[in-house]
Symmetry: C2
Subunit: 198 residues, 2 copies
C-alpha cells in the first residue's frame, strides 16, 4: 500500500492520489477523510496533494469521477461478454457497485449523502445512473429482439431492478439484515419475474 518514494510524473502521481483517496474514503468515510491521511497513506507530504489538486473538494470530486468511470467500464465489459443475454444481465448487476467488491458500497452510500448537497457529486451519480440504465436497457432490448425475454415496459423494469439492488445493498451494508448471498438470490429472482415471467 505504501507508495513509491521516488519522484513521479504528474499523470502517475495524480492517479496514485486518487486511488489512495478512494481507499481512505472506504476506510474512514467521506465525512472524515483528511488530506493528510491520503498523503501519509502514500508517504508523501500534504503539500504535494495540493500541488496536484487545487482543493480537497476537487480531490474528492475527481475521485468520484474516477470511481464512477471505473465501475461503468466494468459493467460495460460484463455486458459485452459472449453468452445468453439473461446471463449477461445477471453479470452486469453483479458487478454493480464499486467493482462489485463487498465493501465498495460504502463509497456509494456515502456518496448519496454527499450528492444531496453537492451538485457536482449529484451530477456524477446521474451519469452513473443514466449509463448503467443504458447498459441494461440495451441488453434487455437485445433479449426482446431475440425472443429470449418478455417485458412490457423495459425502462421501468430496469429502473426497478437497479432500485432493488440499491435498497438490498443498504440492507446488507447498513442494517445487516441481508447477506450478500441472499441479495444475489433475490436480485436474480427479480430479474426472472421482471424479464421472463410476464
Amino acid at each position: 500500500m505504501t507508495g513509491t518514494r521516488t519522484r513521479q510524473k504528474v499523470e502517475v502521481r495524480r492517479e496514485e492520489i486518487l486511488l489512495a483517496a478512494l481507499a481512505e474514503v472506504e476506510r474512514v468515510g467521506l465525512a472524515a477523510v483528511r488530506v493528510s491521511d491520503v498523503a501519509t497513506a502514500l508517504g508523501i507530504s500534504t503539500g504535494l496533494v495540493f500541488y496536484h489538486f487545487r482543493t480537497k473538494d476537487e480531490l474528492v470530486a475527481d475521485a468520484f469521477t474516477y470511481a464512477v468511470e471505473r465501475d461503468l467500464t466494468t459493467m460495460e465489459r460484463a455486458a459485452a461478454r459472449r453468452g445468453p443475454v439473461l446471463d449477461r444481465i445477471r453479470a452486469v448487476l453483479r458487478t454493480y457497485g464499486p467493482t462489485g467488491s463487498a465493501t465498495g458500497w460504502r463509497l456509494w452510500i456515502d456518496g448519496w449523502a454527499l450528492a444531496q448537497h453537492e451538485p457536482v457529486i449529484a451530477d456524477h451519480f446521474r451519469t452513473l445512473d443514466d449509463r448503467s440504465r443504458g447498459i441494461l436497457r440495451a441488453l434487455v432490448d437485445e433479449g426482446l429482439a431475440d425472443g429470449s425475454l418478455t417485458c412490457s415496459d423495459p425502462g421501468a423494469s430496469v429502473r426497478r431492478l437497479l432500485a432493488l439492488l440499491d435498497g438490498l445493498s443498504v440492507a446488507a451494508e447498513v442494517h445487516r439484515s441481508v447477506s450478500r448471498k441472499q441479495l444475489r438470490t433475490w436480485v436474480d429472482g427479480a430479474i426472472e419475474t421482471e424479464l421472463v415471467g410476464g
Copy 2:
C-alpha cells in the same frame, strides 16, 4: 420557526433543540450541521445547547433516536387503522421515511452514510429496520390468516418490499430519475406481485 424567547424547562427545551437539529440536518446535511446553526435557528446561545447535550455527537445521536421513534409510531398508527390489510400495508409503506414527507429521506440517506462509521447510529437503523419489518410482517400474517393475501415467504417479501422502497427513494432523491408518484405506483405494484399474485 423562531423559538420562544422565554425560559423553558428542561424537557421542553430538549425537544425543541432536537427538532431544530433535525430540521437543520434536513437543510444542510449531517456533515455540515453546526451547533451554532441549531442554536441560532431557535434564537438561543450555543452554550445552552451544550447545557442540554454533553456533545454535538450526543445531540445528533439523540436526534436520530427521536426521528426513528417518531416514524415508527407513525407507521404503527397507519398499521392500526381499520380496513382491509392490503390497504393498511400500502398506507404503512407510504408513511415510511421521516413522516412520509418528501424531503424526509434526506435524513435517512445521510444517516446510512453515518451509520457505516458510527455504531450508535447503526444500532438505531437496525431498530428502525427490525421494527418496521415487524409491523409489516404482522399485517402480512393477518392477511394470510384471513385469506386475502398469498405469499410463500412472508419474511423475504417484506424485506424485498422495504429494500425496493429504499432504492426507489434513492432514485427519487439522488438520481432524480424517478418521481414520487411513479415511486408509489411501483411500490403498490410490488405489493401486488409479492403478496397477491403467487
